[in-house]
Every structure is written in structure tokens, then in C-alpha cells.
Symmetry: C2
């Protein structure tokens, strides 16, 4: 059965692949699972039909017959559990890959989200210019810890895993901030993820949607 | 084998049970797994021995013989996978419980963390009083969505699960903000979690640590 995911009809990032459907597209490409995409508008995302799939009115969602799932982390994990390629069979290494998925979302991403929120929602606030450096320092703290841990390894824990997929996806949100450039091994780590053929296929697919929207 | 977790020697919350070891203690109590606790000071958390367990220098960590794990979400999931009581055997309901775990950490908690950061790190900033209501509105948005979804159900998806455990733990961080009171069904949901005998045992255990520290 071909699963269907949802994605923005018009992504606010204009095709930079920073929306969370990118995690799910990339995971599906890594395991070689074809999928359909249903595009939703901002208005549709807040309607009952979409809220029945995701109570927070966000994308992506995942449908497979009568089964529906939300939260990109949970969808990536669902895909990784059912296909080879994103989680090893070794129980301990599998648990550590899952730890990196949670670390990406609950330890590394929160200050990055805070930056996004500041730039989008508080850009015109009187405090914006003074406050942004404080937020950036909180991000730097996490990046420094991650950089020290990664060292000169290719991936976080041996072979590429769902943990790397999610972590690279989270770090990509910093692409235009300049912060990643301060940590060359993290920049190289993100570039390594972006160089994977599955990433490229996923990126091109979301870019095609953005291009169609901008021509529409 | 009895696992060992780490927790704050002196929790910044003074025993309110808001540190993330509480998620893990509660999960261990729900499944009836005895555990040992090793208390760590703020200084010890940044030393190589602890960083080898958690690259971000945070608590809790989880050790079971040579196996070590970090991130409270991943530890709760590890416990839930190995014991009955926190994840159902039904594959679809299990996937949805995992979705709620990710939703708690990556959708509901980020604005709550932003509030905590504002109150702790930006309390003296010139913008604090003007900005806090903006952060509170972002929290209200998520709470309203969660409240609408929960309705008059006891738990998020049928029986109590690891998803509820983590969501209640995340919402408890709002206890003193007054924000939860605006959503009576969410207040009742949190109270329902706190009334569970396993929660009470976990809460009392972390409170005993805080009391010992304040008498020390």
C-alpha cells in the first residue's frame, strides 16, 4: 500500500526544504518506499478534516489505509521500524538512534525554534536586535556540545540512522543564520547528509512543489 | 538487573518534580521496575564521566550494565518497550502513543521551554514584562488545540500510555503560570496523572532528594 503524506501547498520557506515534511520524504526515500503527497493550504490545515489527522493543524501527516499518524519524529520512526535502512537490528544501537531522534527534537531544536519564532514573530519588536544574540548564544551552547561529541565521525553513532536524518534536518534550519559555519565538523555533517541520493530526491520533490506554487 | 538513573543533587525546582528525571522515575514506577539513583552536582554534569553518558551534560541518564542511554523520551520509550503497562501491543495504537510522546516534546513543550527560559534568563531584561504575554499566547494556542482534541476523554488515546506520561510531565511545567487553569479539561488531565500511585511514588522519591539537599 502506498502511503500518503501531507505537505504545504505553499511552503513559507519557498522550497528550501525546511518544513517538517522533508524529514518524512527523506526517510521514505532512504528506505525506497514510494509515496503520494496531498498538498494542503494554510486554511485547510485548520479545518476539521486535517485536524482529525493532526490535532495541532500542522503538516506532515501520514496515512496508510485506515491508519493515520502525525508528528514527523513518530512518522520517521514508524517508517524506520517497518523497513531496513534507518534503524539497526542491534537492540542497544537501535535505542541510541532513538535517543538521538529525541535529542534532535527536544534538546537541539528548541533554541533553534526560538530563533525562528523571534525572526518571524518578533522582528519588529523594539527588543529584537538586542535579544537575538542571546538566543544565538543558547544555540551555540548546544552546537558546541554536539560538535564536541561528533568529533571527526561521519555520523552520530556508527552507521547513518534515523537519528542522523532527524538531526541533519533540524540543523538545516540554521543554514542562513551563519551559526553552523562556526562549527566546521557540524557543517560537514549536514553537507554529508545533504549529499545522500535519498536526500536529494526528497529535496527535489519538495522544491518542485514550491516552484509549481510560485508559478501558479 | 537494576538500572541506575541520574538526577540533580540539588534540583533547581526545590522538589516540585519538574526536572526530566521525573518522567523516567514515573515510567519505572508504572512498570514496577526497581531502580537506583545516582545524584550529580551541576559541576559533575559537565565533567567527562557524565558527558560520556549524555553529550549535552544533562540529567537524566540511564545505565543498565554496559548499556547507557540519554534523553528522557528515549529512556521512557526503552522502558515502555521492555515492560508491560506503557505501550499497548496493538501496532496502530502503539504508533499513536509514540506520536504523542514526540508531540509532547516537539510541539507542546517548545513554547513552554521558551517561557521557562524567559523567566529564568531574561527576567531582568528591559523587554521581559512586555514580551512574556506574547510567549504565553503561543502556549495558549497549543493548549487550546490539545484541549479541543482531548475533550472529555481521560487520556489521549484510550488507555493511559507513555504518551500521556510524557504529556502530563510537560504540562506540569506550567503549574505556577496559571495558564493551565484556563483549560479545565487539561487541568483535570494533569491532576488525573498526578493521582496515579506510580506518579506519587516517583514524586515522593524526588522530593526526598530535594529535602535531604536543603537540610544538607
Amino acid at each position: 500500500m502506498i502511503p500518503t503524506i501531507t505537505a504545504f501547498e505553499r511552503s513559507p520557506d519557498g522550497g528550501r526544504g525546511l518544513a517538517r515534511d522533508m524529514h518524512v520524504r527523506w526517510a521514505l526515500e532512504e528506505v525506497g518506499q514510494p509515496y503520494d503527497v496531498r498538498l494542503v493550504s494554510f486554511d485547510e490545515m485548520k479545518q476539521p478534516a486535517h485536524l482529525a489527522l493532526n490535532p495541532f493543524g500542522k503538516i506532515p501527516t501520514y496515512e496508510e489505509g485506515n491508519f493515520a499518524l502525525f508528528e514527523s519524529g513518530a512518522i520517521v520512526f514508524h517508517i524506520a521500524e517497518r523497513h531496513a535502512g534507518l534503524l539497526t537490528g542491534d537492540a542497544n544501537a537501535r535505542a541510541r538512534a532513538i535517543a538521538w531522534m529525541f535529542a534532535a527534537f527536544s534538546t537541539v531544536e528548541p533554541p533553534i525554534l526560538e530563533r525562528t519564532t523571534a525572526v518571524i514573530l518578533e522582528r519588529d519588536a523594539t527588543w529584537h536586535d538586542q535579544r537575538l544574540p542571546l538566543v544565538d548564544d543558547r544555540i551555540r551552547k548546544r552546537l558546541a556540545e554536539l560538535s564536541r561529541y561528533l568529533g571527526d565521525s561521519d555520523w552520530l553513532d556508527g552507521a547513518f540512522s534515523a537519528g542522523d536524518l532527524v538531526m541533519v534536518g533540524v540543523l538545516r534550519r540554521l543554514n542562513r543564520s551563519g551559526l553552523l559555519d562556526e562549527f566546521p565538523n557540524l557543517s560537514a555533517y549536514v553537507a554529508r547528509g545533504e549529499a545522500r541520493p535519498a536526500f536529494k530526491r526528497a529535496f527535489d520533490a519538495q522544491l518542485a512543489v514550491a516552484m509549481a506554487a510560485s508559478n501558479g
